[in-house]
Amino acid sequence: MSLLEVKSLTKRFGGLTAVNDVSFSLEAGAITAIIGPNGAGKSTCFNVISGFYAATSGRLFFEGADITALPLHAVARRGIARTFQTTALFANHSALDNAIAGYRQRTRSGFFDALLRTPRERREEREAREHAYEALRFAGIESSAARIAGSLSQEAQKRLAIAIAIVARPKLVLLDEPVAGVSGDQMAQHGELIARMSQAGFTVCLVEHKMDLVMGLADRIVVLHHGRKIAEGTPAEIRADDAVVEAYLGTAVA
């Protein structure tokens, strides 16, 4: 059974239909890419799946359960993590604290645990710190743990965003343009990080414009154009698809 099922998803902003009757599913363990020209509705898809926007119509099923109406934080706690197209960090906090905040959903300590520094508080703090270091290590920025997130290089910030997303061990990670703004020589390393995420058991869905990266990484590709799904298939199938070539590839990788 697929991990996430998107069924006839539609999202309108006033008169603009950003996502129009789109259906696809994400297979557990696979890397799926969503591609399409600017304004195709890729980020909007992510925003609806993760609960930022309510769907206008359509349904979302995660592990068989209907998550369409769940609020943001509840979607995250089900095991769906995401990064943002414009890298979102807790900019004035250290990289380590960023990752620790990402682990909060796995901890239960509340106000009275804080006041009394209960054994649970201390255990969960230790646990959060360990997982945070592990996530930073995985993302390759352990040496920057004490640095303020906002002062990291663009490239390191992208890695930190991934560390924040995976620290609580979600089942599905949505990456919105993970290599945008990353310089050419760093790109391969980012690709390698995404491949490693998949090997580590995360189901990955990414939105990306860099076609060579997408073609190299993705098991399946979904193509959006003007809010509609115009194609879906393996990289080879997509490359051979006339509609895709016309809508997108023709201009992007001529």
Binding site: L72, F90, A114, I164
Partner: protein, 316 residues
């Protein structure tokens, strides 16, 4: 970042505070300091909602007033003794804080600030105009001090000083514990980036509401202390201008820091007293001083020192 100088500074502060009544014999000066402590307790509450959780409340003094009037009325009208009256004052402040938060924290942006300002004004109107309940502008007089606990009586100014100091220490303990906890991290995270916090599974609304309840608890506690330390309570203790004063103390001291509310409140309260002699000219001193502070200590006094220390330890 928590170096060894920090506990040392706090110990020194505690010793100074404990020894103060032995040094300051003038009851008026003592009164000014106690007043500063009381306000600082409320400012610690403001620090939780604004400094930690990043939500601007402009009605903080109203919750101070709720605590104060509850204690004053329960003591003078219902004959309740101080401690249960204080508990009731804190509880009522938190309950109203819960309601206000539930309504106004859901939306983003300036809505919470505007809503709390409006609530503050409304509650202030009740305090000022209700002749039956709060006795309007005349206020409530002869609010009795707490009954003695064993051999300890709270009649004298010095005894009240220590009572308020204990309440202040309690407030500082709470906010310090919260600051360095998973809950504190949660609040700081949502203040830093609310969307990201929500996307990593933090129930942002719940966390903000909790922060506001703690903020209103401390405001209520401060109000209760205020009622008994002066023995008189009028509506000008809890108007919108007082909310803005508290905001000023917090920002000058350093929002989000542990020492900030105390440094800012005592600093400005004492300075204001000292400038009293200059009459209206005091603003000529006060204004430029604020500008210098904002220019050179954008994170407040305590925030500025924390940054200096950070820089020293970061570049060995």
């Amino acid at each position: 970042m928590r170096t060894r100088t920090l506990p040392a500074a706090w110990s020194l502060t505690a010793i100074l505070a404990l020894a103060l009544p032995a040094v300051v014999h003038n009851p008026y000066y003592l009164q000014v300091i106690v007043g500063g402590y009381v306000t600082a307790i409320a400012v610690y509450g403001l620090n939780v909602i604004l400094g930690y959780a990043g939500q601007l409340s402009l009605g903080h003094a109203a919750f101070f007033g709720i605590g104060a009037y509850t204690v004053a009325l329960l003591e003078t009208r219902a004959g309740l003794s101080f401690w249960p009256a204080l508990a009731a004052g804190c509880a009522l402040s938190v309950a109203i804080g819960y309601l206000v938060g539930a309504i106004s924290l859901r939306t983003r942006g300036h809505y919470f600030a505007i809503f709390t300002a409006a609530v503050g004004v409304m509650i202030g109107v009740v305090f000022t105009n209700d002749q039956q309940l709060t006795n309007g502008n005349i206020g409530i007089v002869n609010i009795p001090p707490p009954a003695p606990i064993g051999p300890i009586s709270f009649e004298s100014p010095v005894a009240k000083y220590y009572l308020v100091l204990a309440a202040l220490a309690f407030a500082i303990w709470i906010v310090a514990r919260v600051r360095y906890s998973l809950l504190g991290r949660t609040l700081l995270a949502l203040a830093s980036n609310e969307d990201l916090a929500a996307s990593v599974g933090i129930d942002v609304m719940r966390a903000k509401r909790l922060a506001f309840m703690l903020a209103t608890f401390l405001a209520g506690l401060a109000g209760g202390m205020f009622a008994i330390f002066v023995g008189f309570l009028g509506p000008d203790s809890s108007g919108l201008d007082v909310s803005f004063d508290m905001l000023l103390y917090l920002i000058v001291g350093g929002a989000g820091t542990i020492a900030g509310p105390l440094v800012g409140t005592l600093g400005i309260v004492v300075l204001t007293q000292w400038l009293q002699g200059f009459e209206h000219y005091k603003l000529l001193v006060f204004g430029p001083l604020l500008i210098v502070l904002v220019r050179f200590f954008p994170a407040g006094i305590a925030g500025g020192f924390a940054r200096l220390r950070w820089r020293r330890t970061a570049t060995p």
